[in-house]
Subunit: 320 residues, 2 copies
């Protein structure tokens, strides 16, 4: 299996890649980076920053971060690399606090799921000599908060970097090295292209999942209890991503509006054609589509982006 | 966890529920019933029937069935219970072969995912004294064929019985007892209601999954390679059910046309409203929906219909 080593610890580096790493936002992503950074030694020192004191308290109990603070400006002051792990809707506000405190030569990065908006929000707050290297780790689970993170979350998953034109290549290399140390595969593309690719591979799937779960809950002729009981027929697969963090996802849709609406338009066209094939009894059109889509899953499994276990390995999880 | 015992073998019965059990079609479902029946001793004897000699050969190698034959009429002749495990599009043709060979008092059942059409197709072929008890185990994986089956596939999953009015209660009880012996929970409802419930919990989710995977593969601005690489953002969840058996699913849509189109219409309305909320930047509407859908997943987990492991337990599967 492509991911056969996902259970092993991340290998430790001979020397740190950066001196001080500051993480702003200690949820699923921030806390996973903190764990991976500690496990690999990729940073000389880790600062865990969160405005929520309960989250900081959990971080202390979990041993996340060498230093912890609710004061973002203070926390990033001596950092060589700052990663904003907050919902994309508040990137501008956080950059406004963090930006002026950054030292010359520091790199500001993030982990947001949309990239054009992040750049537009962050750029006005960057002092001269600070490098902006936006990043998006395409990894996660439906759980949130510092307890949900784990060091191998990013292993074998892609992290996409979208440096604006003219960004220092050394800064890009540093951020790439940090992600590779956490086991990620790194790709570089434009923010525009990123937002379009992720609209179809992530944003629209989430939107459709939220939508179908919402529709099912609202039906008059089928009770919510029935939807829950008989969900193993396929519906339950959609509920996983429809259980993802509501704030994070609200912000993604509001900040990648054009690409999401464009892809949704395409999807709607295709739904209309499929509905017509069903209405007219065109079995051949259905069979052809259903055969094509099987091949895509095989591609995802052989690329190492999915388990080859039937049913996502659910039965194995059940058996524990 | 509700499914904590899924890894343990099924308990063996003190005595068989039926004498001879004949299974027509030895794919994922038929072969899983054969394994569960052998493990529990729910039948005195199991006849494995398939028109495909390669499948029968695999059954022989896997030790499935006490008797094996490609001749369905011959195979069901002395059976007390016959379960048709074939795509719903050929239920009529198979019932035409099997029906005349059934002995008085025999029960004819099936495992199809639509029920009104199964009843309409099978009923004309039933000799007097034969009981029709249609059944639908809401369980499965994306894999097909006799090698894909396993004895605990039905454990903790629901099996829905839709006996036509006037069906012998004893025959219904026998079929219910057989499914319960395989670990299933049994519900009885009308075929009409079944087809509507499954349209939203299973058929429309599959249709949407096939559709989104097909749309993604057809985009001009995003390559198929990119869709595959960055699928961990949500898309890959859809590819599992979009990798299900094409023949089975073509038949389901053609044989549950009205309910599927009705539910799809509801879904489209809701998509339009969601698209408008995104276009107008109505974050509150999005947040409210995304919060509601999280609760549905919790319901599914606490009903024992889903693993509580993050990411379906994928990381655990990866780590093996």
């Amino acid at each position: 299996m492509a991911n056969a080593s996902a259970g092993a610890p991340l290998p430790r580096l001979p020397a740190p890649i950066v001196g001080r790493l500051a993480l702003v936002g200690m949820g699923l992503i921030g806390s996973s980076i903190a764990r991976a950074a500690a496990a690999t030694g990729l940073a000389g020192e880790i600062v865990a920053i969160d405005r929520d004191l309960d989250v900081l308290d959990r971080c202390a109990k979990l041993g996340l971060g060498d230093l912890r603070t609710a004061d973002a400006a203070e926390g990033v002051r001596e950092a060589d690399l700052v990663v904003l792990c907050v919902p994309v809707g508040i990137i501008g506000a956080v950059a406004g606090v963090v930006g002026p405190a950054l030292k010359p030569g520091a790199i500001l990065s993030d982990a947001g799921s949309v990239k054009r908006s992040v750049i537009a929000q962050a750029q006005p707050h960057l002092p001269a000599g600070v490098h902006l290297v936006p990043a998006h780790p395409v990894a996660g689970t439906e759980h949130s908060g510092p307890d949900a993170g784990f060091a191998t979350l990013f292993r074998n998953r892609f992290t996409i970097l979208t440096p604006p034109e003219g960004t220092s290549p050394e800064a890009v290399d540093t951020v790439a090295a940090v992600w590779r140390a956490m086991g990620a595969k790194v790709e570089v593309m434009s923010a525009e292209h990123h937002d379009r690719v992720l609209a179809i591979t992530s944003h629209v799937p989430h939107l459709i999942a939220y939508n179908i779960v919402g529709t099912a809950a609202d039906l008059e002729t089928v009770t919510e209890g029935e939807v829950i009981k008989f969900s193993a027929g396929g519906f339950r697969d959609f509920t996983r991503i429809a259980a993802s963090d509501p704030t994070m996802w609200r912000d993604i849709f509001l900040h990648n509006r054009e690409a999401v609406l464009e892809m949704l338009g395409r999807l709607n066209e295709d739904i209309a054609i499929l509905a017509r094939a069903i209405r007219w009894g065109d079995g051949e059109a259905l069979f052809d589509l259903f055969t094509r889509t099987r091949a895509i899953r095989r591609g995802i499994i052989s690329e190492g982006q999915e388990t080859a276990e039937p049913d996502f390995g659910r039965h194995r999880a059940d058996a524990q």
